[in-house]
Symmetry: C3
């Protein structure tokens, strides 16, 4: 986590654009201390007849589903800022290219999540810092 | 939102059937006041070996994930009606065509959702009516 | 439910491996009393340029999203066991094959879920046992 699933029209992103987009996403999360490898970005191309907006085939819509762990951000202003932070990452790859874009963030439970068979360390812990520095999971007894 | 992700076997829906299905979905939501462009429908075709039901490849199953915003529908009977409303839309495109179908509705938080960089207006507000009439997002200072 | 969405690199699973994986998943759930047909497994292959981990294209990552119904498993140790149970199913198809793997479990509401237009019976009920024995939904008046 985070997991970004980006549904986009045919041909709007080159491989380089996808890599740039994913690098921008990753940088934002590593900037707040997350290990880079936590950030998984998936691009899925959908043809016009498979992507309908308001009941009509669309070739210029990007729909993004972002999955976060519920971090008990209950304070409305902080939730708003988090959403605007996600939006700021997206704008150069959507609005700035003339693409219509909708996204939402899903929150799921931290205690139902594993990586390579390990429990990810607590947010902000020394162990998380070690995972971030190694950019890799570290078994607890390593 | 709503986002409908429809996973279906190869070749069961023509482009016209997809458009009809999406139009039916859209009509149901616009009927309760939502802007048409809120309704995004994605079709994803999965081959038999990629779509297993009960551990066996399936070529006649449609699995639908509907994402709604949590609208604080906590009253059990209203939740039941909402689910039956979703089912009624689906039946002509599944059971009536001899297809097995399972769906569920996910609810996510309204305050973690943006369209074209804008906060969608409150449900039932004058601003939402204006977005619905324009069938397009309207910046707050427009 | 459960719904398993398995995003994997190109060519890592043969049709037989997918069937084995899905059969293992199914067996674990039927072992706790669920009807086999509740278990839907979808495989989606993503090319390297569409699957980025830490901002870099990845050809050896499997990302799995498991959707469960919220069964009111609130007790932290039982939630942990459930997650480790999911992990145990996954290991032979990921770590044991040298693949990096992350998964999380989403929980959604049981009362927003239908199969073939029917309300699935209560967990552990006689009706659920009948559905499991028939491996098929049974209308309430049947």
């Amino acid at each position: 986590m985070p997991l970004w699933q980006i549904y986009h029209p045919v041909g709007v992103y080159s491989d380089q654009a996808k890599q740039d987009f994913a690098a921008d996403i990753t940088r934002h999360y590593t900037g707040v201390g997350l290990p880079a490898f936590y950030v998984v970005v998936q691009f899925q191309e959908l043809g016009e007849s498979d992507f309908l907006v308001g009941g009509k085939p669309s070739a210029n819509t990007v729909r993004i589903v972002v999955s976060h762990l519920a971090r008990h951000i209950d304070e409305p202003r902080r939730r708003r800022r988090m959403t605007e932070f996600v939006n700021a990452i997206i704008v150069p790859y959507t609005a700035d290219r003339g693409l219509h874009c909708e996204f939402h963030i899903e929150e799921s439970a931290r205690d139902l999540w594993m990586i390579d068979g390990l429990w990810p360390p607590d947010a902000g812990s020394e162990a998380e810092k070690a995972w971030a520095a190694a950019n890799s999971p570290i078994p607890p007894d390593a």
